[in-house]
Symmetry: C2
Subunit: 339 residues, 2 copies
DNA sequence: CTGAAAGCGCTAACAC
DNA sequence: GTGTTAGCGCTTTCAG
């Protein structure tokens, strides 16, 4: 691989001149510029960005840590991140934490060693060790889809997330408006604010409608298909089963759809199901899934925006972006039977 | 950030000694070793892997280029890659080509500039410009889920893919065994061998069963939900619609399931549907999807294995791993009506 | 068992 | 408008 020196020699100029024509950081006579360009082409020169980064203390690489990049929701967020990074001229080093705090810290350690310019923490776990760790290394962080937990409120970290509580409320109110009175809820892991907040919204909607919250109607899952399936079957076996279900993410909602079908019941005739996220597949379930849509891609994009701004101004106060959720009516919810 | 020099000073030894205790590359007296360790802890020293890589000409970073990391199949492959890389101590820089050759080349350029040790090309496009490009830069490549196209056969590149042709055959034979005679096919983009090979298998199975291939029964999609939905509706509107469908990937199969339902027909009573891939959601569709399973995670793992071996021996002959596919019977296929 | 010195490839003062 | 020089932080001969 040719270096700048090689190019300089071939063009009969100094290395610094070559560097300057590459980075357009100095006026160079048209003549030498041309000679340098020719030399670069002749040698098929490509700058070594490793060396450049070592010198500049800027790698133009961001670390992205998420629980699982194959989860459709996070996959969309990642898509947004990657696209935005590409536009800004950044690269993404991807890490799956797999809900394992050890692994998360291991990743952070090498990411920082590799001198990433910043880290995007996508709703990974409910553990805030990562934040402590990052604080000691004073690396810029943006938290996506989650805020720092108790004891970290004043950590001055940029965040971007959606209005989960409002989403839970919208979903539940919608079901109520359709006449349902026994509305079940399949929640995610309670340690995740993204899940807990949705349940808060659910409770609030019931309360404001004057309906007592029946704790037996709230079953918790783990945001995976199977748990949605199980929780749904459990709810349907209740002596007085719910006629509508607010499921805290689409993955579990798909499981619930499957469960209802296998029990011989029909969605939405016998039981209405509403999900959360609006993953791409939600438009093609049978029946098509009504859900609370989150702007997943935008979440990723905004995270990158925040990071890029942070990188150019470390001192400004932390920003907190809250993106809106919207109710997306499709075919999985209907009026309460007999109404 | 403290450097090795700082640690050396604090410990009262030379930088080289510090380097050697870090990398355990030389015998050091227990006493000095301890002093160095203490100094590192005291200063909270973390090695700068950028500098290390510049020196060692090894970044322990792989570039991964795929069409779209949010596609459930590629997402699984990526999961396998990431997990294997983690185990080997590598990192992944992710790039989505978005079916855009320009973008793919742009990515390759910066990846190589950033001195990735190798590139994993996951079935990205049908363009082989990327291979030309990589050849000129003499970077190790592993092609995943696809082999080099015409004119590149002798390029000596490691590859790992599944037996798509056999998969198409297995699927079609299965449908035939259930008594179906009019078997439709929804293919992917014909320029992708992964799709084309499956169709070849389909044709072969029909032919060996003595059934004439009816070209009207083959509709091509783009591997996305919507195209499966459309293609399915188109097939069902035929004067003599097929009673079974071989859909070349699960995403489109899900679209097909949705279409059959919306037309008022039933799967599998009226029409059988078999997919390809076995994405996680396939177990939770209504009805659960029968499909040809590919070991997506393994595809990723094996790709990394190949790359790691290649990195330690550039000269050995190219290897080609072919992973098996299997028929996964679930609930979306049934015997032909009236049998 | 330890240290000194050179250099990976690049950029940015600082000269002229 | 151009060249010289030092150095980013690390590793690795080479010397002792």
């Amino acid at each position: 691989m040719p270096t700048i020196r090689d190019v300089a020699e071939a063009a009969g100029v100094s290395p610094s001149t070559v560097s300057h024509v590459i980075n357009q950081t100095r006026h160079v006579s048209e003549d030498t510029r041309q000679r340098v360009m020719d030399a670069m082409a002749a040698l098929d020169y490509h700058p070594n960005r490793l060396a450049r980064s070592l010198r500049n203390r800027r790698t133009h690489t961001l670390g992205v840590l998420l629980p699982n990049s194959a989860n459709p929701f996070f996959a969309q967020v990642l898509l947004g991140i990657e696209a935005a990074c590409f536009d800004y001229g950044y690269n993404v080093i991807l890490g799956n934490a797999n809900d394992d705090p050890e692994r998360e810290l291991a990743y952070l350690d090498v990411l920082l060693s590799k001198q990433v310019d910043g880290v995007l923490l996508v709703s990974t776990g409910a553990y805030d060790e990562a934040l402590d760790f990052l604080a000691t290394r004073s690396a810029p962080v943006v938290m996506v889809d989650r805020s720092p937990g108790a004891g970290y409120e004043d950590l001055q970290i940029d965040t971007v997330f959606t209005d989960n509580e409002r989403g839970g409320m919208l979903a539940t109110r919608y079901l109520l408006r359709l006449g349902h009175r026994r509305v079940g809820c399949i929640s995610g892991p309670s340690r995740l604010t993204s899940s807990a907040d949705r349940v808060v919204g659910y409770r609030q909607a019931l309360t404001e409608a004057g309906i007592r919250v029946d704790e037996d109607l709230i079953v918790s899952g783990d945001f995976q298909h199977e748990s949605g399936y199980r929780a749904c079957r459990q709810l349907l076996e209740l002596p007085e089963p719910p006629t509508a279900l607010f499921v805290c993410n689409d993955l579990m909602a798909v499981g619930a759809l499957c469960a209802v079908h296998e029990v011989g019941l029909n969605v939405p005739a016998d039981v209405s199901v509403i999900g959360f996220d609006d993953i791409p597949l939600a438009s093609y379930t049978v029946p098509r899934l009504t859900t609370i849509a989150q702007p997943a891609r935008d979440l990723g994009r905004v995270a990158v925006d925040l990071m890029v701004q942070r990188l150019s101004d470390r001192e400004s106060p932390a920003r907190h972006e809250r993106l809106p959720v919207t109710l997306l009516e499709r075919d999985s919810c209907g009026p309460m039977r007999g109404e």
